[in-house]
Structures are given as C-alpha cells and as structure tokens.
C-alpha cells in the first residue's frame, strides 16, 4: 500500500489513532534491544507467549517488542499499558505471576517494581529518577514503537514532517529552517548541519549523495545502535528530508558490522518505507525520487572518518583520503556528498515538527537541542540517556547516573572515545556542549561517557586507547602509525614498572607531532587520551615511574596478591575460583598463592569473604 500524498497520510494516521483508542486490550511492552536480549529478554518473551497461550489471554493482551528504552541497568524489563506499570530485573519465572496478577486482575506486584535509593517502590517508568532529569525527545517514543512495524512510527506522528516539507517548503527553506535551529553534527565534529547541506546543495556537480554514518566505532558508545534498533524510521525520515533539501536521489546508510540487530531492523524499515511510498518514485505525490541502500562496514574504526567511510562504500580499504577538498564538493565517486551521523538525521524530523524557534530554545548559546549519551563504566545506573545540551557532568553522573557503583570514589569521566580525554572531579561542573569540554582538553564527541572510579588506573586507560588506535589506525601516515607505536612502547614500559622520568616528555613530544602532522582526524586527536591523563593525573604516572606502584592496583607487573595466613579460614573459595590453579592449601588451613602461576585476575580478591587476600 502506498501513501500518495499528505491527506492520505493524515487519514491513515487518524485511523491508526482511532484503532488504538478503541482497543480494550492491555499491552505488554518488552524492551528487546541487544542489551535486553543479552540480559535474557528473549526468554521472557517466550514465557509470555507460552503463558498467554496457556491462559487464553489473546483477546485481553497484546505484546509489543521494542528497542532499547535506555535504562539498560535494570533489564530485562516490561511495561504494562495503559497503566504504565514498570517491572524490572525479570526472570522467566516471574511471567506467570505478572499475567495472573496484573493482566487477569488489576494488582501490582511490589517485588518486581523498581526500588529507588531510599527504598521507595516506583510504579511508572517515567517516575524513576534515572528518567526524571532527562529530556527524551528522540528516545521517548521508543517504548511505543515496534521497530519492525512502520505503523507504530506513523501513529507517533511519523513521516508528517516529511509530508509537511514536501507539501509546503522549497529546498532552500528547509535548509534555512535547519540553519536557524542551530542543529550541529552529533557525530563529534559539531559542524552546523544546515550549512553543510547548503554547501552540498550549491556544489555544481550531479548526482549528489547523502550518507548516514552509522559506523559507531567509539568504544563505550552505543547511542546510534540504540536509535537504529529502536526507531529506524526517524533516521530514514530525516534522510529523505535532507535529500530533498540538498537535491539528492541516492542515499546510503553505512552501518557497523558488529550491530546485527540494528542491521536487521534497518533492513525491515527500509523495505516498509519503500512499500508505503516514502522511498522510491514520486514520494508523497511529488516529482521526487530517493532511495537508500544499506552498506555494512567491515569492522574498522577508521571508517567513521568521512573520507575513509567513502572509500569503504566504493569498495576499497578504509583509508582516509589525502586531499584538501571537502566531501560536500567531492565525496563518494568524486561527487558532492553530505554525510551526517545517525543522531543528527534523527533530529531533522523533530526540528521540522517543532519549528526552529522551539527547537533552538533547548540547549546553550552555541549548542542546541538534546544529546544522547551512553553512560557506562563504574556507574550505578548504566544506560542511554538523553539530556538538554548544557547540563553539567555532575548532574549526569550523580542525578541521572546515581553516582558510583559499589560505594567507590569517583575518579574520572572519559568522553569523546579515543579522540577525547579524561576529566577529573574538579571539572564536573562543566556544562556538556560542543565547546566547554574541548576547552578542558576532552570533547563531547559522539556521546560515549565512561565513568571511572578509584580502581581504574589512568595510565592503563591511556595505554588502552593507544593500543586500540595502533590497531585501528589505517597505518598510512608516519606520525599516526609510528607515533602510536612509540607511545604504546613507552606506556607499556611505564605500566610494567620500567618507565623513566623522561618518558612523560617523550609522550608529550609525540603528541605534538601527531596533532600537527597526521593525515586525518583519527591521528590528530589520537593523543588526547594520553595528553589529558598526563595533564590531570600526572601523579599516577609519577607513582608508576618513581615508586614502581600502581595506585589503583591494575597494572599487573606492579601488583601482587597474597593470602594473609592469620585471616584465611581455608574455606577453599579462592582455590576453586582461581582460573589457573595458582592457589594451593588444605581445607581449613591457610592457603597460599604461587606468584609465578598467578595471572593477577583478582578473582580470589573478589571472592574472599574474610578479606584475607591482599593486593599490594
């Protein structure tokens, strides 16, 4: 069935709304993003299906499978509508009770509700503190949308922005609208989206291409996965509007190969958009053709860089191009190409729907709208969050994230992935936007936020990123390839206790050359994790170098485990858990660790109930 014009869309939308309002069934919403599935949501779904069959509840309940809502910490969870009851941390065994009590009857099962800090039970998802300080313009509708069903998106007002644009606006007006809204690229660069579109529209050559960069490579970041899995049509709609404004007929979505579910949902969504006539010939009755092809990445971080991404689509190794000409003029196959990130595209329908005035009221002077972050690491409430630009790091970490897990002390927050940096506690009052974090030596980046506590070694973190990049760099230019290799050697010897005092200067000199001399953004920013940890956590470097000590107890060569015989009861828990059989001892007698076999995994330290294992 094709929707041929705006009035047909309006009718279709109204019918959907009437259908839902008449519905007397309850709806069980089950969050089944990759994270939910990893936590066992499929088993929950199977039990629900089984119980519904057994109890013959087909006429009373409907199941809606959605993407990730954001609060990954308490998955698997489900919501029962219309009441909006939120049950979390579920086991398949809980399903029977849920159907008996909350579907067949109207009872609420206390023990499955979310419990807040003070021990209060919370019934509704939206009342949970984790969601309270958020502004979920993009993620908010996830719970109403089955990503495999375009009708759910349309029922949320989907494709009406497209309909409005095609019916009422000239391409130049669309660009003007986006420019006025202040929308900037969410991939990390922060380039004004409207200006990019304008440059691409003005470029003289044809055809023009629009690309959605879904090669979310920053480790610790999964905002784009969340959007692709949960609401793929918002991205598609954004791309169609962009293509119309730019004058393009061909679009590509370049998705990471590591996101199978996102690829699956996107494929379904593209096909449904074609079936409904939002892609293809004469979109919404207008003389406008546009279609989107999905391209899977090959597993290369550098392909997030726009010219490397283009090379990859062209069927080449993902090497950034050495040319001083922008992709909006000469990109894919040498033609004008506009690349935006997933989240940027998803913002487009929102800007059109709300109008630039309302959109630009959110955020700060230079950064408008909301931003999605993946708040992970040593934090209590891990998950995807969406907040207005300008919120402080402190509000994110403590109000939304609930502070540090396991009553440990906060040490640092890492933002911007391998191109970003680590900021210490003193910077927690910084507002999160495109400019403030950069000034402090990090960057907002695409949205990864990894919280680190006292058990995280900052030298090890720097080494982690350098190790990551030395393998993910394309290896073409000398400063990046050789610089990373040299940095890795230096950081390795520091973490092994063989560092020298000059090593810190050497690291800074290499940083300097990489920043000035590298070919692409991967190289020019690659030293940021090293540079920022040297700046804010120099004492940790010095402890490794001078005292041969790792204050966080992470660096293997500088850490030893031993069992204090006076505290050991000989329970054998450590002996059983040791993966390399490095612990020996008779039952009920003090055990001991063979240091030559020990791989410093810390399992014994964690498992000991008597604090008899000492780390030093």
């Amino acid at each position: 069935m094709k929707i041929k014009n705006s009035s047909e869309l309006k009718n279709y939308y109204e019918n959907l709304i009437i259908k839902t309002s008449k519905r007397e069934k309850r709806t069980i919403v089950l969050s089944m993003g990759t994270c939910g599935i990893a936590r066992g949501a499929s088993d929950i779904l199977n039990s629900i299906k089984k119980e519904v069959r057994k109890r013959k509840l087909h006429n009373r309940v409907e199941i809606r499978v959605t993407g990730c809502h954001g609060f990954c910490e308490v998955e698997p969870f489900l919501i029962i509508y219309p009441q909006g009851i939120f049950y979390c941390k579920l086991q398949p065994a809980d399903v029977r009770q849920i159907l008996m009590e909350s579907i067949e009857k109207n009872n609420i099962i206390e023990r499955l509700l979310y419990t807040d800090e003070k021990g209060k039970k919370i019934i509704k998802e939206t009342d949970i503190p984790f969601y309270k300080k958020q502004m979920r313009l993009l993620l908010g509708s996830n719970r109403f949308i089955d990503p495999a069903n375009i009708d759910d998106y349309i029922a949320q007002g989907g494709y009406q922005s497209l309909s409005y644009v095609l019916g009422n606006m000239q391409p130049e007006e669309v660009i003007e609208e986006i420019k006025k809204s202040g929308l900037r690229g969410r991939g990390g660069g922060g380039f004004p989206t409207g200006r990019k579109w304008e440059l691409c529209r003005r470029a003289p050559e044809f055809p023009k291409y629009v690309i959605c960069n879904a090669d979310e490579g920053d480790p610790g970041a999964y905002m784009d996965r969340g959007l692709l899995e949960a609401n793929p049509h918002s991205i598609i709609e954004g791309m169609i509007i962009g293509a119309y404004a730019i004058g393009s007929n061909y679009g590509y979505v370049y998705v990471r190969n590591e996101y199978p579910l996102a690829i699956h949902h996107l494929n379904i969504a593209l096909q449904q958009a074609r079936d409904y006539g939002f892609l293809g010939d004469d979109i919404m009755g207008k003389d406008f053709y546009f279609d989107i092809e999905m391209v899977k990445g090959g597993g290369a971080f550098v392909c997030g860089e726009s010219t490397a991404l283009i090379a990859s689509i062209e069927g080449k190794p993902g090497e950034p191009r050495a040319k001083y000409i922008h992709t909006v003029e000469a990109g894919l196959y040498g033609k004008p190409t506009n690349i935006n990130n997933v989240e940027t595209w998803a913002n487009v329908p929102l800007v059109i729907k709300n109008g630039w005035q309302r959109y630009s009221k959110i955020g700060t002077e230079t950064s408008k709208g909301t931003k999605i972050f993946s708040l992970v690491g040593k934090i209590k409430n891990s998950g995807l969050i969406e907040v207005p630009m300008g919120i402080t790091l402190k509000q994110i970490v403590f109000d939304i994230g609930g502070g540090i897990a396991n009553s440990k002390r906060f040490k640092a927050i890492q933002t911007g992935g391998p191109s970003g940096g680590c900021l210490p506690e003193a910077h927690l009052d910084l507002p999160v936007d495109f400019d403030s974090l950069s000034e402090a030596g990090s960057m907002m980046g695409s949205g990864g936020m990894i919280v680190m506590d006292e058990d995280t070694c900052m030298v090890d973190v720097a080494r982690y990123f350098v190790n990551f990049l030395k393998e993910e760099s394309c290896g073409k230019c000398v400063p990046c390839r050789e610089g990373l290799s040299a940095m890795f050697e230096i950081l390795t010897r520091i973490t092994e206790g063989n560092g020298k005092h000059e090593d810190m200067d050497l690291l800074e000199e290499i940083s300097f050359a990489m920043k000035n001399g590298s070919l692409c953004a991967l190289g020019t920013t690659a030293s940021n994790p090293v540079f920022s940890t040297l700046k804010y956590f120099r004492d940790e470097y010095i402890a490794h170098i001078e005292k041969k000590r790792c204050p966080a107890g992470v660096c293997k060569n500088l850490v030893h485990y031993e069992i204090m015989s006076d505290a050991c009861r000989g329970c054998g828990a450590c002996l059983k858990i040791c993966p390399v059989s490095a612990i020996q001892g008779e039952k009920k007698k003090p055990h001991s660790i063979d240091d030559t076999k020990c791989i410093r995994c810390g399992e014994c330290f964690e498992v000991c109930k008597f604090s008899a294992v000492r780390r030093k």
């Binding site: 590591e258 090959g298 597993g299 690491g377 990123f465 993966p579």
Partner: protein, 163 residues
C-alpha cells in the same frame, strides 16, 4: 572427482553471490562479507575467482581482506568466543577475561585451539556497554560475565562436542 564436484559447487555458490550483487565491482566488500558468511572465512581460491570474474586485481582484494577485521583468511574454530574490549568492558576487567581464556584453553586471540574446536576473538565494542564485561559465545551474548562463569559456559559447549 569429489574435489572437482566441490570446486564446481563452490564456484556456483560464489556466482550466486556475484549475481546477487549485480557483478558490481564497488560492492566487493559486501560480496566478500557474503563469502565470509557462507564459509566462515575467505578461501584463497574464491578470492582468486572473484578477482578474475570482477576483473579486479588480486592485490586490491587481498588489501581489503586484510584491512577489515570482519574478514578472516583462515577457517575459524567450530565454536567462537568473542570478548568485548570496549572501554566500558575494559574498566570492568575485559582484558583479564581474554588472558584467562587464553591460559585456560591455550588459545591466542585471533587463533583457534589445536583441536580446531574453539576460536578466541576480541572485538573493540559491541555496544552493549551497560552489561560490561560482555562475551559472545556462539552468537549468544553474556553480560556481567565473570571468569569462572565463562569457564563453565565454554567447558559446557566443548563437552557437548565430545559426546
């Protein structure tokens, strides 16, 4: 005789993949992904075959095959353990998990055990960061994994094989 038949069937399969992608040279990465999915790795003779069919220098194909991490030129083991080494998993001990698996089963990342039953691989981020550390065993995601739990899971699938 048998080998001939295999070669023939194999070429048929590759032709199917090539046709599916319209013999389009620029879709070579997708073509190679399909071959990888079909055989679990990129057999050398198949790469030589597509080089000929698409009239693309073998050096280009070899560059692509060795550049992208999704490709493997060697067959993988029967079972696959993928350990996520994203930042969130790293700060929660991902590297130690790799090391323990390496020692317990005598297998290096990117390689397989001598009996060919188990391949160990690492990935830079699966985007399941809230569940860190994450390990995928034969396509199934396991969040908040501990070394001892993973040992049980892996030993479990290996034992099933022996039966």
């Amino acid at each position: 005789m048998r080998e001939k038949e295999y070669l023939f069937n194999n070429a048929n399969k590759i032709d199917e993949i090539l046709v599916k992608h319209g013999m389009n040279r620029s879709r070579i990465v997708a073509i190679m992904q399909d071959i990888q999915n079909e055989f679990g790795y990129l057999p050398e003779k198949n790469l030589k075959y597509i080089s000929m069919k698409l009239q693309t220098p073998l050096s280009q194909i070899y560059s692509i095959a060795t550049f992208y991490r999704a490709f493997s030129l060697k067959p993988r083991g029967k079972h696959l353990v993928t350990v996520c080494l994203g930042t969130a998993c790293h700060v929660r001990g991902g590297a130690r998990i790799v090391e323990s698996i390496q020692k317990m089963f005598d297998v290096k990342p990117g390689e397989k055990t001598k009996d060919g039953l188990l391949s160990l691989e690492t990935v830079n981020c699966l985007g399941a960061c809230a569940l860190g550390p994450v390990v995928v065993v034969d396509g199934k995601y396991h969040g908040h994994i501990t070394i001892s739990r993973l040992e049980r899971i892996v030993k479990g699938i290996l034992n099933e094989n022996k039966k």
